[in-house]
Amino acid sequence: MAKKSTAVHPAAAENVTAENVPAAAQAAPAGVRHGCTCEGNPLLPQICRVIRITQETPDVKTFRIQTPDGGKPFDPMPGQLAMISVMGAGEAMFSITAKGDDWLESSIKRVGALTDALHGLAEGDLIGLRGPYGNHFPVDAIKGKDILFVGGGIGLAPVRSLIRYALEHRTDYGQLDVLYGSRSYADLVFKADIFENWPGKCNTHITIDNAEDAWDGHVGFVPSYLEEKAFSPEGKVVVLCGPPIMIKFCLDSLMKMGFSKENVITTLEMRMKCGIGKCGRCNIGSKYVCLDGPVFSMSELDELPDEK
């Protein structure tokens, strides 16, 4: 093994930084874009360590990831993706839900073979990590606006990166509302954030689908709660993420409330292998979700074939 993968960032040499990686609305530039830690090969992972595992819900765990020498693997923008591998079991693409000074976090629901292997990891175990991939939430284009975050279930995971960004750059944005719901109290992810860290810094509106004995909060589905809250579309951008059926009904509700599709942003999921728009499988029409997405506005999605 000749070459040790390190966190040295070739982006610096090419004058590409996380800040000028194109926003959702902009087309990918011609030529090579290197926002990753790949030493010229964007498909090369670095070996990283899982330093903390948080059991969020019965089937969701958050993995805090660090380089073996205690650094941040790379510096993603909110909404960007990481390819995580359990060596030998395979790899898959996940949203990066948070970053710190020397770590990244991804929250992963157990749904298949690889996520089974991930959930079987212990703190201290090594994984492969490559990225960041994809575009990001248009943090500059939405400066000065109110942001309404709408999440359902594990759908809060990609949105969390932007909520954290907005709270860190609080003066850049107007009113921040987080409306989040899940099937049950147990299925609510990021309980420390939604009940402790965020209230006071932004408005939180939490709901669960069915009443439970210990729950004194709102009960009902996300779309109806959204209509109940009657948010004004004036100067407001909506970031919407959750199961497809929730997105569909939330979008209907938002349209009724007077929001325009340009101002409703979401993130897509597709099966991915390469992460750099080559291997083929994540296309929707001529767009590759791993490269041109995962962040799209609802008006951009209207332009694409109905294959989501």
Binding site: V32, L44, P45, C279, R281, D306, K308
Partner: protein, 333 residues
């Protein structure tokens, strides 16, 4: 310049002296692009059933090795010098299209790029068209490949030789005194006295991409897909298909990641963990494959992802080739 045919073995030996030389020859009972053993007679008529795309994009290739106990990751990209002799103009054009896909739009694929930089192509113009060839309908000249490093054409007892690039000039310099001045000089490929045309014509409307996109919900897709076996043969023999899968092999703390060809016609190609599949049936998969070739690739790169080599016309066991799709879904209504 021209190269006397009797000098060909000598010329090939020079190419082989510092590079892996692929040429069409009989191997395992089939004409195919194979590494020259120094003795085989090249097949200089027709085009092998499999394109030489695996020279640039192997059916399976190692990507990197890793060692979890040391944290090392080693890039296994191969910088080997390679030459393809006898590649036809359609397959040269397919490499130009693969270049677009692998090297443009945000990232360059370093495995492909490494091989591409080390590749020299010596194209041989066609002297006959198979009944399935339709490269002319795709805008190609069967006797000229401007994208090849060196263009050879049959001129009786010699090949006329024309360089298109620095790599081509290097080959000419290498061949040096094997070359002779050609007997009669004309503007386009001296000594070219062959005029070959495809009998098979495919009507390619100028607005085909828009037409096909507008017919996304057309019932013809479902009707066509009923014959499809989902075997993926079309993708494997197509010189422009480039989908791949990535996997890993592990032994204790060490392992290797590899990638291999894949096909968008396979049912689990885009099936996600948890079972959701955005292209659940043959209808969606067939539609996506041909829209990629005839509309999406145009939108993204400004060119069609087909070179008219006719391999799918010849090989699809269900007679469900690209020309049938163009005619059935893209025809006048």
């Amino acid at each position: 310049m021209e190269l006397k045919k009797e000098k060909l073995p000598e010329a090939l030996a020079l190419l082989q002296s510092d590079a892996r030389l692929f040429l069409p020859a009989e191997a395992d009972g089939l004409p195919q692009f194979t590494v020259w053993d120094g003795k085989q007679a090249p097949c200089l008529s027709g085009n092998p059933p499999l394109p030489p795309k695996d020279v640039l994009f192997p059916r399976s290739e190692k990507m990197y090795g890793y060692n979890l106990s040391t944290g090392d990751v080693a890039d296994l990209a191969s910088p080997e010098k390679q030459v393809i002799f006898g590649i036809r103009p359609c397959d040269v054009k397919s490499i130009e299209k693969l270049d677009r896909a692998f090297l443009e739009k945000g990232y360059a694929d370093s495995y492909y790029r490494t091989r591409r930089e080390q590749l020299t192509t010596l194209s041989l113009g066609c002297t006959e068209a198979a009944r399935t060839c339709f490269c002319e309908s795709m805008g190609l000249d069967p006797a000229d490949a401007p994208g090849a490093d060196l263009m050879l054409n049959d001129a009786g007892d010699a090949f006329s030789v024309k360089s298109n690039s620095e790599k081509g000039e290097a080959v000419l310099a290498r061949w040096g005194k094997l070359l002779t001045e050609d007997a009669d000089k004309d503007a386009k490929g001296a000594g070219k006295d062959v005029s070959v045309h495809c009998a098979f014509k495919v009507d390619l409307p100028a607005d085909l991409p828009e037409r096909l996109t507008a017919r996304f919900e057309d019932p013809a897709w479902a009707a066509l897909s009923r014959a499809c076996l989902g075997c993926g043969c079309c993708s494997y023999i197509c010189p422009t298909c480039y989908c791949f899968d990535i996997g890993q092999e592990n032994r204790g703390a060490e392992g290797t990641a590899f990638r291999c060809w894949d096909s968008c016609m396979f049912s689990d190609y885009s099936r996600m963990a948890g079972g959701h599949n955005p292209r659940p049936s043959k209808r969606e998969r067939l539609r996506n494959r041909y829209l990629h070739k005839l509309a999406y690739f145009n939108e993204r790169y400004g060119t069609t992802l087909c070179v008219g080599c006719g391999r799918c016309v010849d090989k699809c066991p269900a007679h469900l080739d690209i020309t049938k799709v163009i005619e059935t879904v893209g025809g006048e209504r």
